[in-house]
Each structure stands twice: as C-alpha cells, then as structure tokens.
C-alpha cells in the first residue's frame, strides 16, 4: 500500500505567508507537495468555520498563517486571527482531535525557509498521526434522498390549512418581520410551489416555538412542516443564514462522525459527586463547548451544569456522566441536517442503553425535548424516564429533600419554548422558585403559553428581528419590576446576554436586568 500522504490546507495571508511561499519557490527550497494554499487577504479573515469546514471535508491538517504580531498589513488582523484560533483549538481539543491537526504560525515575507520547514514539520507529524477520520462533509449527507413533498404534506397535516392566518398573526417572527408568513409557506407548499420555500432564506427564520401550532384550528404541525422543508432545503445546499458562521453546526457534524474520545469533562472536579454505578444520568449537553465559544460574552455556560450537579448531589443523587456523550442533535434536526441528527441519536442511544440508565436529568430543554420526542420518533427508544432539572427539583422539594436559605429578590421567569410549549412544563420551575423563602415571583405580561421567545433557535437566522424580539422580552422583564430574569435554557441565557452586550444599546436606552439560569439560582439558594 502506498504511504499515507496527508493533505494540508493552508490559509495564507496575501502580504506575508503567501509571499514567503513564493520566496521558497524563487529560492527553490524543496518541501513536500502536501499543502494546498488558499490565499486570503489577512489571517484575520479566516473564520472559525473555515477551519472546521476544512477538517470536516477531510483535511488532515489545517494551517492558518499570517504576519508576525506588529507587522500586520491591516494593523491588527493577525491578533484577531490569534484570538479566534485559540477558541477553535480549544473546541478541537474538546472534540478529542489531535492538536497537531490545526496550527497557527506567523511567517513573514522573507521567511521562505520557515514556510518550507513548517510544511515539512506538519507533514512529518501528520504522517505519524495517520489520516484524519473525517472524510465526508455535509455534501455527502445532502446526497441522501429527502421526503417527497406530498408525503410531507400528509405527515404534517398541512393539507388541512383553512387559510385562517391565525398562525401568522400569532407568529413572533412575523410580528417583527412582516415579510415572513407561516401561512404563505403552507400555501406555497400546498399549491406545489415547495421549491420556492426551499430557496427562501426566511425558511430558517422560524423559531419552532410552537406558538402557531397551539392555535391552529386544523391542527397543522407547522414546526414539523418547516423542519421537513428545511430537510429538503439542506439537500439543495441551502443553510439559511447560520449564526456564528455556522461554526456550531460544523462542530456538531464533526462530532457526529468523530471516532475520537471527547475531552468534554475536563471541567469536572472532585467538588461534585458522580458515579458510574448510578441509575440516574445527568445529560451535560453542549455547555463544555459553549464555554470557549461564548466566553467572550461573559457567559460561563458550565456554571449551569455545575449548579445542576450541586442540586442533584444535595438531593442525595450522585449521577452518572457520560464521558463521550455527544450533542443531542437538536440543532442538526431543526436545520434539516437529519443525517447528522441520526448519527448523534444513534450514538447517544447506544451509550445510554449500555449504561442501564433508569432516569436522565437535563439542564437544557432542547436536549430534553430531543431525547423525549425526537429520538423515539426516529426509532431511537431509550426506555427510561426523562426529567428537566426543574421537574427534578420540584419533586425533591415536595418530598422535603431540598432546603433553601433566604433569598430576597424579585424575579420573573422566562418559559423557554422547548420546555413550555413543546413539553408543557410550566409549573415545575415556578414551584421551585416559589419554594425559595423571600423570593418573589412576578409574571411578565406574556407568560406560559404566550411567552415570547428569546429570538433565535438552532443558531440560524439570528438577525435584526431576533435582536428586537430579545430586547422587547428583556424590556418586558424589566418592566415587571423584577431584578432577575430567570430562564431554564442555556441558549436563552446566551441569547439574552448577547443582546445586552449589544453595543447599539449603548447608543439608546439600556436594559438593566440580571439573567440567571434556574439551576444557578436554585443551587445558590440551597441551604
């Protein structure tokens, strides 16, 4: 068999490294022919998703190369590249991918020999590591056939649409973006113009918040309709306008195909009691990945996870954590990437079954919904009880197993759509909050079934309208007189923090309310 020849993608800055590679040429410095250069104007132009997509597509190694600090043609682009690269390499390391596969290097114009040496070194290291296990990208998944339009209409009962427009009138997206209409999308599909929906970027604006379906007199499952349409769109190469450049989606896809053991529990210390023998499992979810990705917003996503463990431990439960748990697949499923979802669901189901778990507790409503409804719907039966941490805590409070100290604050509660409208869990979080002495729970004007969403879901189409929705929700929370907005979804937290970090607010009225996850608040109030 021929020797393995690694393939390296090098994103090279036009002003230095690209020129250094030219110098290597004019000096006839020989180096292995394993590198393919993609010219960029500045290393600061290289986005996290460029690196992850290169890996996804099968690059054995990725090199980002730019000017030495202080020499950037654009003053400081290289420093920004460095910051981004550090984030990416943290994520890559949590995925378990060898750190040698992604590299950042400063190579100046005159450093032709350095360029050649860098490639030699990378090739040697990669030969030792062997080929990257990632070979198929999202285009491979796109090749699989989608549900036919007719079947989809049957499945979602879209045929029964009465054209009453209740969906559009209740749709929060439509309220902010008048050009978006669930009814029009249904009508298009029923009239056989499904392909128009597929190529409409607004297809990805739907939050799947279920506000419409709860009101539909004909019981049309609009979110399911939209999800199925996105499946078709995905196969036509439409991804909407993914937030954060689609980096999170790309990481999920890498994870779904990854044979590596993740390093997702690096944060776990002896402070928390966990047990491999326990029949209760805690589903950690995405928070280890959110940590580096959203750190710049000041959100410490793992706090939510740690708080949940504290609640479990205080109730005498030492849960099992899966060292190689993968993304639940929620975002993949809701962006039409069903193949990725199925790979993830298959992996998680196998691990959960092998562990002999009787109960799984979640701090994330998305994971909860996905495992509870979408896994069985796709043939992944878990055969165990599932609970959100708020339901778990409410149960323990009722039994008198959780005790709280005084916490004199006025709080209001944000019903996350996955927990509320999707699963009907409205009472448990409220019961938990009310059990804390001194705490005063104030409802916002729109609550429970009528709650307003945090503005985006599955990390797609997070634009101006999402932001406005978020700001309005925060204003509503502030107007309620509460000091703290409690949510029970890590993503709500990220999105609200993002809105409050928004610099445009500096130039207008600002919002002053603390956003705290339910688990954090409860853990902090434990006696």
């Amino acid at each position: 068999m021929a020797e393995f020849e690694p393939r390296i993608i090098a994103f090279a800055c036009n002003w230095c490294t690209y020129a250094a590679a030219d110098i290597a040429g004019t000096s006839r410095i020989q180096y292995p022919p394993n590198v393919r250069i993609i010219r960029v104007m500045c290393s600061g132009m290289v986005a996290p998703e460029h690196i992850s997509l290169a890996l996804e597509n099968g690059a054995d190694g990725v090199l980002v190369a730019g000017c030495h600090p202080g020499d950037c043609h654009y003053i400081s682009g290289n420093l920004k590249a460095d910051e981004r690269f550090q984030m990416v390499s943290k994520v890559v390391s949590i995925l378990g991918v060898e750190s040698q596969r992604v590299r950042l290097k400063w190579i100046a114009t005159s450093e032709g020999p350095v360029f050649a040496q860098t490639i030699k070194d990378m090739v040697n290291e990669l030969k030792e590591l062997g080929p990257s296990p990632f070979k198929e990208s999202r285009s491979a998944d796109r090749a699989r056939p989608a549900l036919a339009l007719e079947d989809m209409l049957q499945e979602t009962k879209a045929y029964y649409c009465l054209e009453c427009s209740k969906c559009t009138s209740i749709c929060p997206v439509a309220r902010y973006d008048p050009s978006y209409s669930p009814r029009a999308m249904i009508e298009n599909a029923v009239l056989g113009l499904g392909s128009e929906n597929i190529h409409d970027k607004k297809l990805f604006s739907c939050l799947a918040c279920y506000a419409c379906s709860l009101r539909c007199p004909s019981d049309v499952d609009y979110p399911a309709f939209m999800r199925r349409t996105r499946e078709m769109a995905f196969r036509s190469g439409e991804y909407g306008c993914p937030a954060h450049g689609g980096f999170l989606h790309s990481v999920t896809r890498l994870m779904s195909r990854s044979p590596y053991k993740q390093k997702r529990l690096g944060w776990l210390t002896g402070k928390y009691k966990v047990s491999d023998q326990s029949d209760t499992m805690f589903f950690v979810g995405c928070t280890p990945y959110f940590e580096p990705i959203f750190g710049y917003l000041g959100v410490r996503a793992l706090d939510i996870t740690e708080a949940s463990l504290k609640i479990l431990n205080s109730s005498g439960v030492e849960p099992m954590l899966l060292a190689d748990e993968k993304c639940c697949g929620h975002d993949a499923l809701w962006t039409g990437d069903t193949e990725t979802f199925q790979r993830l669901a298959g992996h998680n189901t196998k691990l959960i079954k092998e562990a002999g778990t009787k109960k799984i507790v979640f701090s994330c409503p998305e994971g909860y919904r996905t495992l509870k409804l979408d896994y069985p719907a796709h043939g992944f039966e878990l055969g165990c009880e599932l609970q959100h941490i708020s339901e778990f805590a409410a149960e323990k409070i009722e039994k008198g197993e959780l005790k709280f100290k005084e916490f004199s604050k006025k709080v209001t509660y944000q019903d996350p759509c996955r927990l509320g409208r999707h699963l009907g869990v409205y009472d448990s979080p409220r019961k938990v909050l009310e059990a804390i002495p001194g705490l005063e729970l104030i409802e916002m004007e729109k609550n429970r079934e009528c709650a307003l969403c945090c503005g985006t879901s599955a990390f797609t189409n997070c634009g101006l309208y999402s932001h406005e929705m978020r700001v309005d929700r925060l204003r509503e929370a502030e107007a309620s007189g509460a000091e703290i907005l409690v949510t029970s979804c890590p993503k709500c937290q990220v999105h609200f923090e993002c809105a409050m970090n928004n610099r445009s607010e500096e130039k207008g009225p600002d919002i002053d309310i603390e956003v705290v996850d339910l688990a954090n608040l409860v853990a902090g109030a434990l006696a």
């Binding site: 292995p32 993609i38 132009m45 634009g463």
Partner: protein, 559 residues
C-alpha cells in the same frame, strides 16, 4: 447570475513549470471540470502572445471567468486583470492559480506529485472562479483643500508648502498667535539664531499667502468623513466655522513636562525648567554665577520610560549661551547619558566643553540632592568616577524635562480616528514604510506630535507630510478598494462587534429606519475581512473572499 463560462490558461513558463509539471495533461484535465468551456496552454501566458490568446478566447468562447495557472499574483495579477478588462471582462472575474512558485519550483524532484498538486490547485481555482462576482472600484472626488492643525513652525511650514502648490489651506491654531512652542524659545541650536526672528518670517509668509486661511484662538471641534471629503467644524473664538477638506495634517506639537515636586520645583525660587530658562534669558534677566542643570528629569524613569531625545541638546545650548555671555559663570550639566545624535551635534557638545561647561554623570539610583531652605544653595551629587559625593554651589537650578504629548492629543485622536502610542504621542501607520501617514487614509502627522523633534527635523517632516497630503489633492480623486466588506442590514443585529474590531474605523453603527445597524464606509474599508470573520449573524460579506468562495475551494480539493 449568468451561468459561468470559465476559460483556463496553463502556462509553461518556459521550462520553469513545463519541465516539472505535465502542462498538456493539466489542460486536458481542466477541460473536464464544471463550467470550463475553454482550456489552453501557453509557453509564456504573460507574453504578448499569451495576453492576446486570453483576449481572443474571451471573445471567441464568450468567457465570463478567466483562470490563469502560472506564477504568482504578487507579480502578474495586474497584468492578467488588465487583459480581461481590455477584452471587456470585469477584472475581478479573474482568478490566479500559482503552479510555479508554490508548485513546480518547490517540488522539482517529484514531477508526478507536482502535477497532481497543480491539478488540485487548478480545480480549486476554478471552483472559486465560478463564484466570482464583478466588482467596481469607486472613485471618490477629493476636495482640493487641506486642514493643518497646529500653527507652530512645523504646522506653518506644512501649510506654506501646500499653499505654494496652489491648494487652499486652513491653518487652525489654539492660541491667539502663531508660533507654537518656539514663541517661548530664546535661541536655536546650533546656529544661535533667535527663534523670534524665524517665527516672524514664517508668520509673515503665512499671513500674506492668499491660499492660507488662518484660524486663531480656534479648535477643530468635529471632523467627520473620510479621505477626500472631511467635513470640519472649527470653533473660532466661540463661533462656528465649517469647511470641507480633502486631507488633514496633525502638527499640534508637544508640551514640556512641569516636574512639580521634584528638586524643589514649584517650592524653591531659583528652580526652573529649560523652557522657563529660555524665557528668562530672552528677557535678558541675570542667571547668576553658578548654574546647575539636571537632565532626564521625568524622563527614562519607570513612569515615563522614553528618552526625551532633544533635551540634551537644549541643555548644552543653554549652557553654552550662558558661558558665551559670561565666561566667568560656572555651568554644570548633571546627566545620565548624553544624546547628541544629529548632524554636527557632537561638535556642538565638544564646543560646550571648550567653553567650560562641565558634565557630571549621575545614576537613577543616586540622583542629585538639593540643599537649601526656600532657595537652592548647593547641589550634592554622587560622582561615579570618584566614587564620592561632591557639592556644587548653585545660584540657579535648571531642570531638563522631556516633551510630553500635547493636552489635545486624546481628543484629536478620537476625533480623527487615529492611534496614539503607549505614551500618548500620535502613532504613524508604519515606522519605516509610512512614516508620516496615519492608518486612517488622508490624515498625516509631523513634528513633535509624533515624537520630540527639533526644528530641522520637524520642518523636514512637515515637507514630507505636505507632500503626502498633496498627493490625493493633486489627483483630484482617490480609488477605494473594491475588495471590501458590505453589510446586509436585515441580517445585522447591530451588535457592534465589527465596529470594535475594524482596524480602520471604517465601520460604524448607524440609525437606519429606527434601528441601529452596522454600516461600512467603502471609502475607508481596506478589505481585511476581520469583521466578516467575527460577525455573529452572518450579515457581513467580504467581497472577492466570500465564505462561499473559500468553502468552494475547500470542497473542490476534497470533493
């Protein structure tokens, strides 16, 4: 977008490519790739025949994308782009593939693999080319006028230089008179010319020049716009004065540090700074028989680590002048190191020694001490060579302090969106390559606003800045980079991350239809793409290097 029709031209570059890479195979390979309607090989694509082959093929095959696989865009992109343009194709529909510098020349011993790599690179180039879009370089009209901030000798020289090139110049000075720091200076080294005389000549020339509009007791209050079109709002003696200029020169100079609390300064009656001594001498007031000068007061200390650069020469000049007018006077200069760097400066230093000025070195660890009540009587200094303390009689103690950034620096830096260095002086775009220019196009710096300079250096810089500032004014227009970023205002959440990141302040949040959204000023954007890489909502497109184009290259390699 119309269906891409790609033409591929593979260059032999004589033997440079052809001897190591199988060019005919590459041509056959390229022909099979999607959207390729024509592929050929040339002995030298950059030769006249090669260029005419490109032009001919564009017409014959109705090509709307051109890919040349040859050497490096760094030397030949302009040429091939021009060929496309001459054949009526937008030059941004051209894509370069480097199969010489980064392939045949570096894999000479592996022709098979070099050919395979060249094939990959061509496939990637075509994948990008298919997605290329035509771009236009916008031309921005330039107002043929300049603003010079600061009416010192450097500002006046810059203004005169521009005015003599027939441009209108607005000269803004915060004081009620022109002349700046030089107004307090006695005589200039090395010529001993009276500073007043020099200023007088300059002021007369400035005032009598019909192209210079002098604004005294004035401050630039607001500057908006970009190269070619800066709207300037000046507060002139309480009244608003508005005008438009094409370029701006910052010549606000610097200030002398007042070392309050050190060596009895501010408490004892006979302690002065060098600048105060100048004034003293100009008025012809007696300085006494024993004069001690201490250098590096407030400079090269932990809180201000830089060397004041011109202060050694100031001390030597004033010491020499005292000795020349009263040879019996005793003058000591206590210093830490002497900086006599310029043309003839060393000779000037030696002359001071000949005149009888005495130099004693002290160290930061053992600075000189002041002895006296209410008035300095003696100075005690540790002589490093003798290794003992000596005492010097002192009628006047002169402290040599460094120049520090002018008070207005911060404001002007914010107003013009130009950077300051760690000490608060203005920072040029590149020390060596762009010494009097700011990163912000159309704004220039000269004199002590950048770093302490003497008159000679300041005037040279004034000429340099004026020459740079005159360039766009003379052209009448500037071309903005076509490879730039643009914002989709519906997808933008107005988070402002891009505004924070942009190294050129080309991005600003603006209120549009009641919403704050990001706006890229195409005239200022340089196309580095850092905004696009950071955008959370995917609202920014980096033209010519779009996500789709980059991804197409990646997918083409592995797909």
């Amino acid at each position: 977008m119309e269906e891409p029709r790609v033409g591929v031209f593979v260059c032999h570059c004589g033997i440079n490519i052809g001897a190591y890479v199988k060019v005919p195979d590459l041509v056959e390979y390229a022909k099979k790739l999607p959207n390729v309607v024509h592929a050929e090989r040339n002995l030298f694509t950059c030769s006249e025949e090669g260029i005419s082959a490109i032009k001919k093929a564009i017409k014959e095959h109705n090509l709307n994308r051109v890919v040349v696989a040859s050497c490096t865009p760094r030397t030949h992109e302009q040429l091939f782009r021009a060929a496309c343009e001459e054949a009526g194709l937008n030059k941004y529909l051209f894509e370069f593939v480097n199969i010489r510098d980064q392939c045949s020349w570096v894999h000479m011993r592996e022709p098979e693999k070099a050919t395979e790599k060249a094939g990959d690179l061509i496939r990637m180039g075509i994948a990008k080319a298919r997605l290329l879009e035509p771009l236009q370089e916008i031309e921005i009209k330039v107002t043929p006028a300049a603003l010079v901030i600061g009416g010192g000798v450097v500002g006046m020289e810059a203004a005169l230089n521009l005015a003599r090139q027939d441009f209108d110049v607005h000269l803004v000075e915060k004081e009620s008179e022109l002349g700046g720091t030089l107004r307090s200076i006695n005589k200039l080294f090395q010529t001993s010319e009276e500073a007043e005389k020099l200023i007088k000549t300059l002021v007369e020339q400035v005032k009598s020049h019909p192209k210079i509009y002098t604004h005294l007791s004035s401050k630039a209050k607001e500057v908006t716009g970009f190269i070619g079109n800066f709207d300037v709002n000046v507060d002139e003696k309480g009244e608003e004065c508005k005008f438009n200029v094409g370029t701006i020169i910052v010549a606000i100079g610097a200030e002398s540090l007042r070392p309050t609390g050190q060596y009895g300064y501010g408490k004892m009656t006979n302690v002065l700074t060098q600048l105060e001594l100048e004034d003293h001498m100009k008025r012809g007031e007696p300085v006494g028989e024993n004069i001690v000068m201490v250098n590096c007061v407030g400079a090269r200390v932990p809180e201000r680590t830089y060397c004041g650069r011109i202060c050694c020469m100031t001390a030597i000049k004033n010491a020499s002048l005292i000795k020349e007018s009263n040879p019996k006077a005793k003058v000591w200069i206590l210093h830490r190191d002497l900086m006599t760097y310029g043309v003839d400066f060393e000779r000037y230093y030696r002359k001071a020694m000949e005149l009888g000025v005495r130099f004693i070195r002290y160290s930061l660890e053992r600075p000189p001490e002041v002895i006296g009540e209410g008035k300095v009587e003696r100075i005690r200094v540790y002589h490093e060579l003798w290794r003992r303390e000596i005492e010097l009689p002192c009628d006047m103690l002169v402290l040599t302090t460094p120049l520090i950034p002018a008070e207005d620096s911060q404001n002007i830096s914010k107003m013009l969106k130009v950077s300051l260095d760690e000490f608060g002086f203005f920072l040029e775009a590149h020390l060596k390559l762009r010494p009097v220019e700011f990163a912000m196009d159309g704004v220039y710096v000269c004199g002590s606003a950048r770093w302490p300079t003497d008159v000679t250096e300041g005037v040279s810089q004034a000429y340099a800045a004026a020459a740079k500032a005159a360039g766009p004014l003379r052209m009448g227009y500037v071309k903005a980079e076509a490879i730039n970023a643009s914002v989709n205002e519906v997808e933008c959440t107005g988070c402002g991350l891009c505004e924070l990141l942009c190294p050129f302040q080309a991005i600003e949040l603006q209120l549009k239809r009641d919403r704050m959204v990001s706006h890229v000023n195409e005239a200022v954007c340089k196309g580095c793409g850092t905004c696009c890489a950071a955008c959370r909502s995917g609202a920014i497109t980096m033209h010519h290097f779009t996500d789709e184009q980059i991804l197409a290259q990646v997918e083409a390699l592995f797909g």
